[in-house]
């Protein structure tokens, strides 16, 4: 069977790091948060993800082509970031490949940064961050970080699969999900997950600038959000609102 997804390393990737995942999802929370962390820490590209399941896209930076899905690194912190919406049909093989790659790199923790769609988000002044984990050790890390656990419910999308595959492979993984808008870019929610993850990992990243530029980020993120909305509809993301069967 031909390889559906390949991760091509362009630089050396030291084993035993922590991987942050910033993939397009509700409110583009993970993408905004991860982009901010990458630029604040001055992380550099070490690998990219290629797949014939992705649209034929090159993202131009300073006139040079890049894959829209890249992995960055600095001082043991890795970050996977997608600059375009991931087609619903590619979510499973890409999530699987990221987790397999993490296993090979002996990644000690995968941290997915994202949003938790909240219908009355407009009326929430202080955004709360919730968490889910791949195993008991990761759950403990969430509790130690004072993150409220999502005890029951549905997760839909790449983070749902990353958690499941990490559980399968014995990798510690958590998802930090801030209350967010479903269909609109949410820099405030992104700032909340950045604050939480940097506190848990002892990193120094200031979110003042992120909050200050919030409106401009919302303006620039419109087109990626528009395409992400289409893919979220294809993967029935609204199922996250469903109440689970509880007998």
């Amino acid at each position: 069977m031909p390889e559906l997804v390949r991760i091509v390393e362009r630089g050396s990737v030291p084993p035993g790091g922590v991987l942050l995942a910033g993939l397009p999802d509700v409110g583009l929370v993970g993408v905004i948060a991860t982009t901010h962390i990458i630029s604040s820490l001055g992380m550099e590209e070490v690998a990219y993800i290629d797949s014939n399941l992705l649209p034929p896209i090159a993202v131009l930076h300073d006139g040079l082509p890049h894959s829209p899905l890249r992995i960055f690194h600095k001082d043991g912190i890795l970050a996977v970031l997608s600059e375009t919406a991931i087609p619903a049909s590619a979510v499973q093989p890409i999530s699987q490949s990221i987790v397999d790659w993490c296993k090979g790199k002996e990644v000690k923790m995968v941290v997915s940064l994202g949003g938790l769609p909240t219908p009355n988000r407009q009326n929430i002044e202080e955004v709360k961050v919730f968490g889910a984990a791949s195993n008991d050790e990761a759950l403990k890390a969430l509790r130690e970080g004072s993150v409220e656990i999502l005890e029951r419910g549905f997760m839909v999308g790449p983070y749902a699969l990353i958690l499941r595959y990490c559980a399968e492979k014995g990798i510690n993984a958590i998802a930090l999900l801030a209350q967010s808008f479903f269909e609109y870019p949410d820099p405030e929610a992104a700032a909340a997950v950045v604050s939480k993850v940097t506190e848990m990992l002892n990193l120094e990243v200031d979110v003042t600038e992120l909050l200050k530029k919030g409106e401009e980020i919302r303006l620039r993120a419109r087109d990626v959000m528009r395409r992400t909305q289409q893919e979220l509809a294809r993967m029935s993301k609204s199922q996250e609102y469903d109440l689970p069967l509880y007998v």
Partner: protein
């Protein structure tokens, strides 16, 4: 020699397949509508905002994401019985180069969108509120004369 007996498909499977096909076609149609044109218009110097619509039994709720706008300039107009226009001026002019784009030239000083409402509504009684940069428009649905059915 291997014999493969071809299973006859039930009518339910055929209907399911048909519905899936229909759903796929409609998604593609929506996708084409959404992605076939840019979200900006240099001749009108405006950007198209992100818009969403939810239909409840009593009302249609349209939300419009309007970052960087002057709230006092927001205009909501009913162009007809079922088309709603929203426009607003931005606090400052935005240029293509701010997006890192150098192969287009132009500037934008506002947002404009038109939304078609798919069910009969009463445009005269719509209400609006603008919170956290998002405009929320509530339009009551036109009531039909109902028939009360006794519950046994």
């Amino acid at each position: 020699m291997y014999w493969e007996r071809r299973r006859r498909r039930s009518i339910f499977e055929i209907i399911d397949e048909y519905l899936e096909e229909l759903e796929r076609a409609s998604r593609e149609f929506m996708g084409a509508l959404l992605s076939g044109r840019p979200s900006w218009d240099t001749s009108e110097r405006c950007l198209e905002p992100l818009t969403n619509m939810h239909i409840t039994p009593d009302e249609v709720v349209v939300t419009v994401d309007l970052p960087m706008v002057k709230p006092e300039t927001i205009k909501v107009r009913a162009l007809s019985d079922n088309v709603l226009e929203v426009s607003a001026e931005m606090k400052r002019t935005v240029y293509f180069r701010e997006f890192g784009v150098t192969h287009h030239s132009g500037e934008f000083c506002g947002f404009k969108s038109k939304t078609r409402i798919p069910v009969p509504v009463d445009m005269r009684n719509l209400t609006t509120k603008f919170v956290r940069g998002i405009l929320e428009i509530h339009i009551p649905r036109k009531a039909k004369a109902g028939v009360r059915i006794p519950v046994e």
